[in-house]
């Protein structure tokens, strides 16, 4: 009997879980403290962000090179 007691509890938990709509990526992302997490799982986001910083440095570097030509 003692082994069978937890079963109704499990059934109730399973019923609650099945009644809940399936989790999507969006649901997972919205949990937590801050909205910044919306960016986190996207590889494309961070690759593009790094590329944009490379562009910033490249523009500064090329401008310095241009300024030195002929000196």
């Amino acid at each position: 009997m003692a082994d069978q007691e937890p079963k109704p509890v499990d059934d109730a938990a399973a019923a609650r879980e099945s009644a809940r709509p399936p989790l999507t990526v969006a649901d997972e992302k919205t949990r937590g403290f801050c909205g910044w997490s919306v960016f986190a799982p996207q590889r494309q986001t961070w690759l593009g962000f790094i590329l944009a910083w490379i562009c910033v440095l490249a523009i500064i570097w090329l401008t310095k090179i241009l300024a030195q030509i002929g000196s």
């Binding site: 919306v38 962000f49 523009i59 002929g70």
Partner: protein, 527 residues
Amino acid sequence: MQRYVYGIHIVDLITLVIFQAVIVYFGFRAHRQVHSMGDYIIGRRRFGKLFMIMHAFGTGTHTDQAVIVAGQTYAHGLSGIWAQWLWLFCTPFYWLIAPIFRRMRYLTTADYFRERFHGSMEVAFVVMGVLVLTVDMGVMLLGQGKIIHSVTGGQVPIATAIFIMVALFLFYGVSGGLIAAIVTDFIQGFFIVVMSFVMIPIALVKVGGFSGLHAKIDALNLDVDMFSLASSGKYTLFYIAMIALNALVNIVAQPHTMGNCAAGKTEYEGRVGFCFGTFIKRVCTVWWAFTGLFAVILYPKIADHPELAFGTCVQELLPLGLTGLMLASMMAAMMSSCDSLMIAMSALFTQNVYQRYLVKDRDQGHYLLVIRIVSVFAVVFGLAWAFYFRDLFHGLELFWKLSALIGISFWLGLLWRRTNRYGAWAAFLVASIVFIGTSKDWGWIPLPPYTDGALAFWPFTVGSAAAWSYVFYLAAGFLAGIVVTLITPPEPAEKIQKFFTLISTPVGREDELRAKGIEIQHEGDRH
């Protein structure tokens, strides 16, 4: 035969008229595709990467910027480039911001303030949005009016030049909305890039190449290193850091940012367009700066008026026809910015005040008529600022600061789920009060010891007065927002969950949102 009309050669004038006619034709043709407010404000969200790049570039690039950069370089050397590059370091963040705007599926940024906080914050944003956009438009109109006035040798009065340009962009902008703005940005953007570059090789030949440029500038024995990107005293490290931080806060609160980010098919089009469209502008800034350096050698007679450097190079260096094309491109650059601002302003009032609080449940034709009428009034306000301002730079600085005041609440609401309406209001009000108190010596409160007291040590030296104002109002705004949020009741959990689910769900998965009972304001075509 008289070869000059209003100070412009007849060949250049014909080029100018043909260019403007083409722009107006393509812009006006877009009116056939506008059937609703969504079409007018956000262009049906159907644009690809190339159009979005040129839209971001066209909206963000105005003629007065080329004039300011060339003038600053003429006076301070290559470090004058920071007059526009102050925004360089926040450009990568555009890559992160754009998808958020697109995923909101809102028509205006004021919608964000209502859905995330409360209707009162929506109205506050409308008031601030209209204010900052009219200021920005006034500065642009005045700047372009002054250029035309000088290029025509004073024969076209500033007021006449302004009214002609306003008539042109009103004609196609009011009829075609954002679709017209994006289509015309595409054409204008191409010419701005080409024309910004075309003076460089001509000037290089005139000064004897880069070696000739160096030799002739060295021979002048100037006090500053004209080829150094480092600060010459005006643009300190501290000033650059603060203006970049302020730019990051204010960019989200500029009402036309919604159009820049969210008119694309998906979030990818928006982020590529906004981020890399702005990078094109950064590259053009390099050409504008070198134009100023060439002018140091070629036109020493304008030493007392360095802001004439760019216009003088246009007049003197470009051959017949190209001068007209350059003038047309400069006018087009200003018009492409103004029409986007006009649409953003009219959208704010019509969508977030008129439709929501004054006249509800009317058909789309009614609201479309209202938004077009409001567009005209929005431009009238911009005109009023244009005739009020005398100093372009202070007008621009006012625009940057006003946007940031309400941008603080935007960032708090996005990055911290706990932020509530009381915190948003507190951040906005406290930042505004501190901004007013620290931006000017009012006499009744002591001004912080900016440049001659305890705050005036390296690198906080020359040029730091404005920078300290940024520090004070940004810090006070964020602090007030956090403290007030913590001591007041939170927003309903369901409301917060809906908002974050909306901005976390990629474009194309709208069915999932509907299944969760989340309203989608404007999905767009995307095809």
